[in-house]
């Protein structure tokens, strides 16, 4: 390190006074930033009027996009005079990268990202590099509908949330199949692995670091590496390494039986769904309980498509929204984050024809008439009962494990080294 500094000094030596000045200026900005307080709720509501929220989010689902640009945009305009603008991205990690660059460049205000849909590893990166505004989530009135005592809400992939992001919905992995093609699907990971080997070329998964592809790897990890609960606590580096190696062994072994002999993978869940709908593969899977019903409704999947969860359970988590440190319209972003938790907005989101995303607000915290309205929600033909889903939930592992698995997959399974 000291060597490096002396190198820099040699390079910038003649301009040192200028650099000192610039550094002082930056220090000044940092100090000012530290002084800035998080807005109170009342301030936020007043200030939010007339602001425009640029919401960066994964744009791969027409249903989500329609809900955001339709219902949410309309209601926010009518209730708070806030203009909601969805900015679709393929992967929110791109936005996190952008924020890092802005942080480096000292762009501490006026940033173009006001709100982002985020969780897990991206949240961890943001916390590590101080990229978020907050804590703001605790200030939002609708937070009292959220059961913060639940570990899947209080922690995001092992990272404590602590008010730095606000929950939006919950998701659980479900396997998707066509009952007309496969009347009795394999209902455990072991059975699925056996099925894939018995039916070469009929299964695939999106290549990690795609989020959906990566969760498939984590299911295998739980399958060979021991129960999910165990990985939530203390584990040693050696134990992780051993379990991960066993995971990659299974995946390497599986590769020749995959679609196109594992020579390539779908680049996204959208592409995997297309392959499934085209009959090139026999299974798809989604990190959304209601996606299959939604696709049936859209006419993408045949009516006979159904979903199932493994007997040992499938991975579930909560997804969140967060406000970047340099967002231009922080007040309006807070109001939007609050409105997302409004029972009516959560219920609308849960309607299968709209999106079918599962509410993050806890039903017993709602007034009785709202409890009834949620209970009356009809589900799509392919969506499982709440009781079935909830009794088959596995927690996400800490994001260190996730990153370890994604990197290892690339080296050991993809590149075979």
């Amino acid at each position: 390190m000291s060597n490096g500094f002396s190198t820099i000094r040699e390079i910038f030596g003649r301009r040192l006074p200028w650099w000192v000045g610039l550094s002082l200026l930056l220090v000044g900005l940092v100090v000012e930033q530290a002084w800035a307080q998080v807005l109170t709720w009342d301030e936020a509501v007043v200030e939010a009027r007339g602001q425009t929220v640029d919401w960066y989010m994964w744009g791969g689902s027409p249903a989500v996009n329609a809900y955001v640009n339709g219902y949410l945009a309309r209601e926010l305009k009518a209730r708070y005079d806030i203009t909601l603008r969805q900015v679709p991205v393929k992967d929110i990690a791109e936005v996190v990268s952008k924020l890092v660059v802005e942080k480096q460049a000292g762009k501490d205000s006026g940033g173009s990202v006001d709100l982002m849909w985020i969780n897990g590893e991206n949240f961890r990166t943001c916390i590590r590099h101080n990229l978020l505004y907050g804590p703001f989530a605790d200030l939002l009135p609708n937070q009292h509908y959220v059961d913060w005592s639940s570990p899947t809400v209080a922690n995001d992939f092992g990272t404590p949330v602590e008010g730095m992001e606000s929950p939006w919905g919950s998701a659980q992995v479900v396997m998707i199949y066509d009952a007309a093609r496969i009347p009795e699907p394999p209902r455990s990971m072991q059975a699925l692995l056996d099925w894939i080997k018995a039916n070469p070329g009929r299964f695939s998964y999106p290549a990690p670091p795609d989020f959906t592809g990566s969760v498939f790897i984590r299911h295998i990890f739980y399958h060979v590496g021991g129960p999910a609960e165990w990985w939530q606590g203390d584990y040693t580096e050696a134990e992780l390494q051993a379990a991960a190696d066993a995971t990659f062994e299974v995946l390497r072994d599986l590769r020749p039986s995959l679609w196109r002999g594992g020579s390539t993978y779908p680049d996204s869940p959208v592409r995997m769904n297309t392959l499934f709908a085209d009959g090139e593969i026999d299974f798809s899977f989604s990190y959304h309980q209601g996606e299959a019903s939604r696709a049936i409704h859209d006419g993408l999947f045949p009516e006979t498509v159904r979903t199932f969860v493994f007997n040992e359970g499938t991975i579930a988590n909560t997804h969140f929204v967060a406000i970047p440190f340099n967002a231009r319209d922080k007040a309006a972003a807070m109001v939007v984050a609050d409105f997302l938790l409004f029972p009516e907005a959560q219920r609308e989101k849960a309607v299968p024809e709209v999106w079918g995303d599962f509410p993050v607000i806890s039903r017993d915290r709602l007034p009785p008439e709202w409890q009834q309205r949620f209970a009356d929600l009809k589900r799509g033909p392919a969506t499982l009962e709440d009781s079935v889903l909830q009794s088959h939930q596995l927690p996400e592992p800490p994001s260190e494990i996730l990153i370890h698995l994604e990197q290892g997959w690339e080296m050991q399974v993809l590149k075979n080294r």
């Binding site: 009959g279 590149k415 080294r417």
Partner: protein, 314 residues
């Protein structure tokens, strides 16, 4: 940053070829500065500035993340990665193959068009259409058309020509990058053809008629008259196309395989990795791409100069 790195050598290439036929009017130096100043300034600021920033970051200079020491570690890690060779070979194969195919077809097409003369206006209008369509659009079209579940496969199987859609040959995400080559060839042929047409039309018929009276047959007329005249433009436009293809990202990103990756896709993947420490490596790969393109352009300029020098001697 990566984009700027690709643009610059292309401009060099075309400018150099433009001066191959000087019009003989010397431009005073002062006016030249005024004329070129703004362009040079913009290119200098964006390209050189970006390059300097890129080099700094590839050397691990990231003040926002507490890393303030300079190191060649990232370059070293990229250079010792066995992926580099595979990735380079694949990128080179795609760029060279598509350029050669496009070049050959373009020569044939341009010669045909010149001999058609009267109808060539219509055809050159048609040729301009592909120039305006973005690569991305063509890539997606190819995706819809040529995948085993795509339109072509479905049409063939519904006509009973294919047993089932799955027996359709792999043309997308395939080992040989056929889908990628198809997009590039389709996009590049019109460009090279139009460049050649300009020269061929200027050339006139006199030389060929003289050749004919001296009893040169069609083959001899092509190799001894036409080819030497179009070579500089062919080489220059081929080079532009090669440099572009070598550094282009979106087509292989959509139509390539998950592994091995082409250099630009690899660079992007590494740069956008969730692990921020991988960023400098992504930039280092990008800089390597820029360096390879610059070297390629430099080499070919030398060869061209040599050819011209020899011609002058004769």
């Amino acid at each position: 940053m990566g984009d700027a790195g690709i643009e610059e050598p292309m401009m060099n290439g075309s400018r150099a070829s433009g001066t191959a036929v000087p019009d003989g009017r010397p431009v005073p130096a002062g006016r030249l500065v005024i004329l070129l100043g703004p362009a040079v300034l913009v290119v200098g600021l964006l390209f050189v500035g970006g390059l300097v920033l890129g080099v700094l970051q590839a050397l691990g200079y990231a003040p926002g993340q507490g890393a303030a020491s300079l190191t060649v570690e990232h370059f070293r890690r990229v250079l010792v990665d066995p992926e580099l060779f595979t990735s380079f070979a694949l990128t080179f194969y795609i760029a060279a193959t598509s350029t050669i195919i496009a070049g050959l077809v373009s020569v044939a097409l341009a010669l045909t068009l010149v001999s058609l003369e009267s109808r060539s206006r219509m055809v050159s209008f048609l040729l301009q259409i592909p120039l305006t369509v973005p690569h991305l659009v063509i890539a997606i079209a190819v995706l819809f058309l040529l995948t085993p579940s795509g339109l072509v496969a479905r049409a063939l199987s519904s006509l009973g020509l294919l047993a089932e859609a799955a027996s359709f040959p792999l043309l997308v995400n395939d080992r040989f990058g056929i889908g990628i080559l198809a997009v590039y060839v389709w996009k590049e042929i019109p460009f090279i053809t139009l460049m050649l047409l300009a020269v061929l039309k200027n050339m006139g018929k006199e030389l060929l008629e003289a050749g004919a009276t001296l009893r040169a047959n069609a083959r001899q007329r092509f190799f001894h008259i036409t080819l030497p005249i179009i070579t500089p433009v062919l080489a220059a436009s081929g080079l532009i196309v090669f440099a572009f293809t070598f550094g282009a990202f979106e087509v292989p990103y959509l139509l390539g395989r998950t592994h091995p990756l082409l250099l630009p896709v690899w660079s992007y993947r590494t740069y956008s990795d969730i692990d921020l420490l991988a960023r400098p490596e992504g930039i280092a790969i990008g800089l390597l791409i820029a360096a390879i393109i610059i070297i390629a352009v430099g080499c070919s300029q030398m060869v061209l100069t040599l050819v011209r020098y020899r011609e002058g001697e004769r």
